[in-house]
């Protein structure tokens, strides 16, 4: 079953087309990298898949299930089984919650029983090596730690699809390499389908199965 099928999808804002028409299929358990210049629509593409950007036309299906048809959202973002790491260092992290509370909150949203949550939180913290920071809030984390928390949060509810929006941007070369390796391990371990947006395709070329180039809102090479 194909993980992602986007057919003729288009996103508009303020009367201007910012993405589309897009036609692409992505196979499960693969790692797809999206490249393109700033403003090409890379982030919008991820948001379209996640359900955070409302399409004006076309269809999106995830793992065989249609999730949007034209402007109609058939499956809301929270039911799509998607994890998203936002662009930027600590972007989108909840400033009033510590590392452990953030992960506990996400698990509670999925109705994981409280007696299981502590163990799951500990596992996630261990997976991203944030043990010493478990009681710190995002404002007290370094760029790399914040990014790892973003990753743990995205993976907490065991998504099938992991979306990474330039997750390595603010990190130095050494941290980038270790982060890529960490995500690669988790990608395999959890059997994820990963779509990553990046400015620098070289940093993930050894893990990528396929690279798509976006320009002015459409995929220019190679065709999906």
């Amino acid at each position: 079953m194909t993980a992602v099928v986007v057919s003729g999808a288009r996103v508009e804002a303020g009367g201007r087309t910012i993405l589309g028409p897009i036609d692409v299929s992505i196979e499960p358990r693969t790692w797809t990298t999206i490249v393109g210049r700033s403003g090409a629509g890379k982030t919008t593409f991820l948001r379209l898949i996640a359900g955070l950007a409302r399409p004006t036309a076309g269809r999106v299906a995830l793992f065989g299930e249609p999730v949007s048809d034209g402007a109609r959202i058939l499956v809301p973002p929270e039911r799509r089984g998607v994890g998203l790491v936002f662009q930027g260092g600590g972007a989108g992290l909840w400033p009033h919650m510590s590392v452990a509370r953030t992960l506990d909150f996400v698990l509670s949203c999925a109705r994981v029983p409280s007696h299981e949550r502590a163990a799951r939180v500990a596992q996630l913290i261990e997976a991203v090596e944030l043990g010493p920071c478990r009681d710190r809030r995002p404002g007290e984390l370094s760029g790399g730690e914040a990014q790892r928390l973003s990753l743990a949060r995205a993976l907490a509810n065991r998504p099938r699809l992991l979306l990474l929006d330039e997750p390595l941007g603010p990190l130095d070369a050494e941290l980038r390499a270790s982060m890529v390796e960490r995500v690669r391990v988790l990608h395999r371990e959890f059997g994820l389908t990963t779509i990553q947006v990046t400015h620098d395709p070289h940093e993930v070329e050894h893990v990528t199965d396929r690279t798509l180039r976006l320009d002015a809102g459409t995929i220019v090479s190679p065709a999906g």
Partner: protein, 512 residues
Amino acid sequence: MSRPLVAVAVLVFAIVGLGPIVIMVARLDPSSFEGLFSERTLSLLGRTSALGLGAAALATLIGVPFGFLTARTDVPGAPVWRALGILPLLVPPLVLAMSWAGMTSFRGGLATTTLLGIATFPLVALFTARAAERIDARREEAALLAGGVWAVVRVELPWILPSAACAACFAFVFAVNDFAVPDYVSSIGPKYNVYADEVFASWRSSQDTGHAVAAAIPLVALTLLALLPALELRRRQAAVTFDGDFRAPATLRLGAWRWVALVFVLAVLAIGVFAPFGRLVWESGGGARGFTVDNVQAAFGRALELGRVNLQSSLTYATGAALLCVPIAIVLGHASARLVRGSRLAAMLVILPVAVPAILFGIGNIALWNRPATGALYDSGWMVVVLLAGRFASFAILAFAAGCAAIDPRLEEAARLSGAGPARRLTRIVAPALRPAVIGGATLVFVLSMRELDAAIFVPAANGTVLFRLYNAVHFGRDDFVAALALLVVFFVVLPGLVWTLVARRKLEVLP
């Protein structure tokens, strides 16, 4: 956003905030407009506009440098001066007027304009300080490298001035709608009529609510003229900064200029805080008859004894109004901040209760609630709570909406992807992240309710409030009792802010 929650909040706000206005407008008929544009009315309107413009100009002139210097520079003692600078806003303007009247021979329009300018300068200072604090350090450092402190000022002024202009619009609104200060100044010197008097007089003379509503329309138009640009400026200033990526700017070093800045700051505080409060303390101790500490003790003892019940009533009503406003503000503030279409219309409806003159709002409450079915409520203390919540919920809603607009939408998106529903996102992510804005909005409602006189004066139960007692006592000239009671009022008005400062590590946030 959860639709049932929004529906309930809209219904409550529509009843307590918009109901009194709608019922008043419904009483308009063609005859209500007779004599509306007479020469006298137009002259009063011109005078009131001049009063508002003068007060707003003075507030800006003092507030912009005061706010910037105390928030961003190394002026010695800046945090203390900054906190003290809020006091004139918290004190009922009537109390300021009383204390200044004893120290100067200024009377009439100049005195009223100056007093209202002093009373509202903290608004401009607060908005300026807030805007100056939200400038990302990297932007400022780039300016600093390019041309030192002056380059920083040049880069930051275009960022700060819209906020200051927004606050100046609010200062204008406060000034043109104030009834107590012109009334008091008129009682001790030459008569200085303003438009708010006209509305009151129009209702008192004929008890004709239709005529009172018509008389208020020019004042409402004037208020809206000031509020609309204020809201537009506020909307534009709301920037996404509540995120891990924001870097707070460092304190600017003024070198030897900081002593000059200190003199300016202390001069402002002398006019707005030290002199009026010193005067009140002096008067409570006997004043010209001979100041003694025993007299101070006796005056406070008497004020507590005679005013205890009034203080209790005021505190109960103000706390009730603040608590009632919290859930309304959270739901409607969030909904209005996330509106894609109709946000301007929503903002207009939200500010309507503060855009109409307080007197009109008070009369509207009589018209709405003084009927057999709601008679029990009308005669009870709950009526005051309902009136105050209806009048001031706008501020709490706007404070929370400003917080929501400044919060990174990705915080909510991440929660949504995690499976959190609308109510859960609001209560677990948005509200806790904006706790200072929630408590700040509630505190604002509390403070405004404690100093409210103009609207509440019409409701029977509000005759027991401490401001009503103070208003009566002022006109009977009991200086030591009045001064002590005024100081007690001020203490209880600033109490929530003091408690928050002692128990919380974060600032209250009520501004965009």
